[in-house]
Symmetry: C2
Subunit: 317 residues, 2 copies
């Protein structure tokens, strides 16, 4: 099952005011002066508060680029620094919630606390994560169910999976299927804050149990899928040839990022980048590049051993 929209909340109930600005006219850190009083834009104030919290942990990820943030809003311990999901029965607010009453109200009004295990605030700015699958190794007699809500408008921010490229609009609640090929990008330097909810459901139960019964959800909301240009075989061939002409051990990862971007704008599958990568590597006549590109495809989208660690920039000496 691909990712799909579940419904939409009216964020105006949570003091969300759509900003009138170009896609890219301000850096993420800039505080904008808008034409409304301070008390009218609580959600934006809270997003600014969350964006200003320093990153707690080292999160260098060689498969991602750009600025990532992952803040624990509700978790098993209530400790803000505790940002890793684990199986537990409790789900309590962290100290960040003291400064985010509107977000807390949203969480409490909309979602069924019975199934909720964790809430995080996630931002991705000026970056992407390469196409990959998540290989979940937790117990499988329950169903792990992840949901995103976009709480900012960002026209340069996209997700992709086998169903296409989509843009989560403010207030939309999406089920995110991380077990199939997927990727995410924010081409801009503007903030793109999401709330990420982890639920544990019984198998076979209707997914709408995650919502409170009196939550005001528009279940007819339609998703925004992006219309992409087709790409003909000549262009594909040219891209592979160009990448091959630039590829060596040192440029390899930059070119993986380059290739990963085309499917956001052109009608290609998420995983096609890896097939092109392998073909480009073969044309270099450097066996290390061929092996690395094949290993990378396997590791990121096909199969991973338990605790397997794969590193792009470790090459045989």
């Amino acid at each position: 099952m691909a990712s799909h929209i579940l419904g939409k909340i009216d964020l105006a109930r949570f003091q969300f005011i759509e900003k009138q600005r170009g896609n890219n006219d301000s850096p993420a850190s800039k505080t904008e002066v808008e034409n409304y009083g301070k008390n009218d834009c609580k959600l934006e104030d809270e997003i600014n508060f969350l964006n200003a919290i320093p990153k707690q942990r080292e999160e260098y990820d060689e498969f991602g680029q750009g600025y990532w943030k992952n803040l624990s809003l509700y978790n098993a311990s209530g400790v803000a620094e505790d940002s890793q999901y684990r199986d537990a029965q409790t789900c309590v607010p962290t100290e960040y919630m003291n400064n985010c009453p509107t977000i807390q109200r949203l969480i409490n009004e909309v979602f069924n606390s019975k199934y909720l295990r964790m809430v995080r605030a996630r931002n991705l700015i000026d970056g992407m994560v390469m196409p990959h699958r998540d290989f979940v190794e937790l117990e499988t007699n329950v169903r792990y169910y992840r949901v995103f809500i976009a709480i900012e408008k960002n026209l340069e921010s996209f997700h992709s999976d086998e169903s296409g490229v989509f843009q989560m609009q403010p207030g939309e609640v999406w089920f995110l299927d991380a077990a199939i090929d997927h990727a995410a990008i924010n081409f801009s330097t503007n903030s793109r804050m999401f709330l990420c909810f982890d639920f544990v459901l019984e198998h076979g139960i209707d997914e709408r149990v995650i919502f409170n019964q009196n939550a005001d959800i528009d279940f007819e909301a339609q998703p925004t899928y992006i219309s992409r240009e087709p790409m003909n075989e000549i262009t594909k061939e040219r891209i592979i040839a160009n990448v091959s002409g630039l590829m060596n051990k040192y440029t390899f990862r930059d070119l993986v990022f380059t290739l990963s971007k085309f499917h956001f704008t052109h009608k290609l599958t998420v995983r096609e980048a890896y097939d092109w990568l392998i073909e480009a590597a073969k044309r270099t006549n450097d066996d290390d590049l061929v092996i690395k590109s094949q290993q990378m495809k396997r590791y990121l989208i096909e199969h991973r051993e338990i605790n397997e660690r794969f590193t792009i920039n470790s090459w045989a000496a």
Copy 2:
């Protein structure tokens, strides 16, 4: 004046033991078991301690890639979180020094505290910084003088400037001229810890005043410059054509990183990447790409207005 070696300390005096390993056979986080007792390798223990400290601040830098670390060991306040250089007369150890007695002894034995203003531990793993100059805006009636000491061996780590590509060997003390075009890279996932010293000197004074008079320095130490392959015009032209064929707003930065890497392996100037970038952009017939590449060259290596902020991924809407 380009960067140059000032001398060499015998790191064996500071329990440095050269590790016998391949270039790339272990990730940075792995603790290696070596054939010597724990008390024999103090410098390595202290490096491991420093590498394990979580990053304090958000340091997203769009002109860099990989994992960066910048830890304050001595500064004006003695507060570890205070990692920005500023003019001050005091230079006192931070709390990190409690766990780094060998590094502290090295600093005290080798350097003249009269001129010393700041010491930082710096690491760059699996990453690079694009070719650039630093445009220092501090007062100019004194001379800011920056020195690096490599305290780990890393065969995949390089610096570059107008004099070529060089590799700082363990114990070597280097003057770093950041006011000319320069770049740095660690192609590997292994640690490459440096100590970075900031001095303030009077103009015209001999640079060796930074050392204590009884410091045991080998002033005859010879630098390691890397022999690079020449690159003919046909290859240059092919690289430009390949980059042009892949370039759009979304792949632009990945391709800047790609181009920035060739001068580490081939006999090219540090800044040549930007000329190729501009030429590749012109061939796309996309004016935004041409303007961006020209602005980027100016901002990074030619001229910058006071407080000017330039962002790669902000494009006209």
